[in-house]
């Protein structure tokens, strides 16, 4: 099958604290807040002073009214004893900074500014939907953060960013195996072939050999 068994597909693992770092920078999106909270609790136990060198940028979504009122936690995302509202617990920790955001672009703008003034010795933790992790990793790569400085846990949606290899348009929030390119109108097959530089999976024309003949379109990235 064309879309499986590809090595570039990112692999994620549950986040754990890396106390060898001197500074900790954490990005969370929605249910990712639960994973960050778990890492922060680990740090609090093993190296309490590290919390004072930890900055958290968090996008609690969906936000309804007051920011702390509602944080969506998907049922399968965390352990049974996961807190219903990680935000309240995050706010209770003695962090160097906890900053809340209403959108991914705003969070990433602040993230970039923070990297500009960060020092060697920083560890990056990212928790949230796969497309959010990808966009954060793309920026981290520009700052030459290596694999041994970054940890990521996928929590939430598996919806993909898909790059059309024909017209170079990128589609967001793709949930189906086949998607129509918003740039050139071609039907694209979504592969597991992933570009860290583009933070997107590759989409290739699905009916190039037999125009109009498409596999069944199914929701696979949910």
């Amino acid at each position: 099958m064309l879309i499986t068994g590809i090595k570039s597909k990112p692999v994620y693992a549950p986040l754990h604290a890396d106390a060898r770092g001197r500074y900790h920078l954490m990005l969370g999106h929605g249910a990712g807040g639960v994973a960050l909270l778990r890492v922060l609790k680990e740090l609090e136990e093993t190296a309490p002073a590290a919390l004072g060198a930890t900055r958290v940028l968090y996008l609690p979504r969906p936000m309804i009214g007051n920011a702390s009122a509602s944080v969506a936690i998907t049922p399968e995302s965390g352990a049974a004893d996961a807190p219903a509202d990680p935000l309240a617990e995050l706010e209770a920790l003695a962090l160097a900074e906890l900053k809340l955001f209403a959108s991914v672009p705003e969070l990433l703008t602040d993230f970039r500014a923070l990297l500009e003034r960060s020092l060697m010795g920083t560890r990056l933790y990212v928790a949230g939907p796969e497309s959010f992790i990808g966009l954060a990793m793309k920026i981290a790569l520009e700052f030459n953060l290596n694999k041994d400085e970054i940890r990521a846990e996928e929590l939430g949606s598996l919806a993909r960013r898909v790059y059309c290899i024909h017209c170079r348009a990128t589609a967001e929030e793709v949930r189906t195996n086949i998607v129509r390119c918003g740039g050139c109108g071609r039907w694209l097959l979504v592969r597991d072939h992933y570009s860290r530089r583009l933070a997107a999976y590759m989409g290739v024309m699905a009916d190039a050999e037999a125009p109009g003949e498409l596999p069944e379109i199914r929701e696979v990235f949910v």
Binding site: S118, L119, M120, T122, R123, N144, L145
Partner: protein
């Protein structure tokens, strides 16, 4: 690498640049271009002495863009087993010597956002070529160069002419020391540190960087160990069916080579891992002197790096 793949070069110039370091300029005998290399590369010089063959690694310090000649710096080692003394005393202008092709085990990270270079003594040599690669580029860099006293600062005029403002000198004689913690605790994200010098300096830089939270992928070091002397012992080579005596002042690799068996090598300094050899039988203990095998691998005792490591044993069989 083996001797079949060496190049013959002629010594074009020799200059004593410090009381202990001689600077050699080498050119291809046919006058043609030498193989290309990148900053941080070394060559192995094959020295055919009266009683034995020495093969020592030396960093290339000339510009990677000028391939008419290679330049190396050789420090006279107090406890030399002969290699550095041979280069200092027996090699003259016009001498012909054999060298192995350049190999780079100490390369610059191509996507670093800043390079922090730290040299101790003759450890300056790989940085001379790296600086040629970095000069004029967009990525910032700085060199911290520590020597025992001003007369020991090899290649300083060349550095001052090209790298003014990017080189900071430290003289032990003036009680000046590199502030490792101060430097390593305030580097921007994406910095890589490179250290070459005495073992104590290398260990200090690695430990301080880790203490400052640096991840290993940003820490680079190179130290070629001269093969240490030790007790004499015998080794049996299973595939060749040979018994070889290893004298106290000759390395295991040199002894095997002297018996006519080629061991593949790149660095001969315990760094690259190329000469990794299986230990088939052992009654005694291995003396690991390399920088390649992990603690766990050493504990298993199944492999040895014959370029620098030895054994204290009654019986040793290698898969050679």
């Amino acid at each position: 690498m083996s001797d079949a793949q060496t190049l013959a070069v002629e010594v074009k110039a020799i200059e004593a640049v410090t009381p202990l370091i001689k600077h050699f300029t080498l050119a291809a005998i046919d006058g043609g271009a030498l193989p290309a290399f990148s900053g941080g590369s070394h060559i192995v010089v094959v020295m055919k002495g009266a009683t034995r063959v020495h093969r020592n690694p030396y960093s290339l310090l000339s510009s990677p863009r000028e391939l008419d000649t290679y330049e190396i710096g050789v420090r006279r080692m107090e406890e030399s087993r002969g290699g550095s003394h041979y280069m200092h005393d027996a090699v003259k202008v016009g001498s012909r010597i054999e060298i192995a092709h350049p190999v780079n085990l100490f390369a610059l990270d191509k996507i670093a956002r800043k390079h922090l270079l730290m040299a101790g003594g003759v450890g300056i040599t790989p940085f001379m070529a790296m600086l040629e690669d970095l000069h004029g580029g967009a990525v910032p860099y700085e060199l911290h160069y520590s020597v025992r006293a001003p007369e020991h600062a090899a290649f300083l005029p060349r550095l001052e002419a090209r790298e003014a403002g990017r080189v900071r000198m430290y003289y032990d004689s003036e009680n000046q020391a590199i502030d490792f913690e101060g430097l390593l605790s305030r580097q921007p994200l994406g910095t890589h540190v490179y250290v070459c010098g005495p073992a104590a300096m290398i260990n200090r830089v690695i430990a301080t960087a880790q203490h400052c939270g640096w991840s290993d992928s940003h820490i680079h070091s190179e130290q070629f160990s001269a093969p240490p002397v030790g007790d004499a012992f015998d080794v049996f080579l299973a595939r060749s069916g040979l018994k070889v005596h290893v004298p106290h002042d000759q390395s295991l690799m040199e002894s095997i080579e002297a018996a006519g068996v080629e061991v593949p090598y790149l660095c001969r300094g315990g760094v690259c891992g190329f000469c990794l050899t299986k230990v088939l039988e052992l009654d005694g203990e291995l003396v690991h002197n390399d920088h390649y095998l992990s603690e766990a691998e050493r504990a298993k005792g199944k492999h040895i790096m014959p370029c620098v490591s030895r054994a204290r044993c009654r019986h040793l069989v290698l898969d050679l």
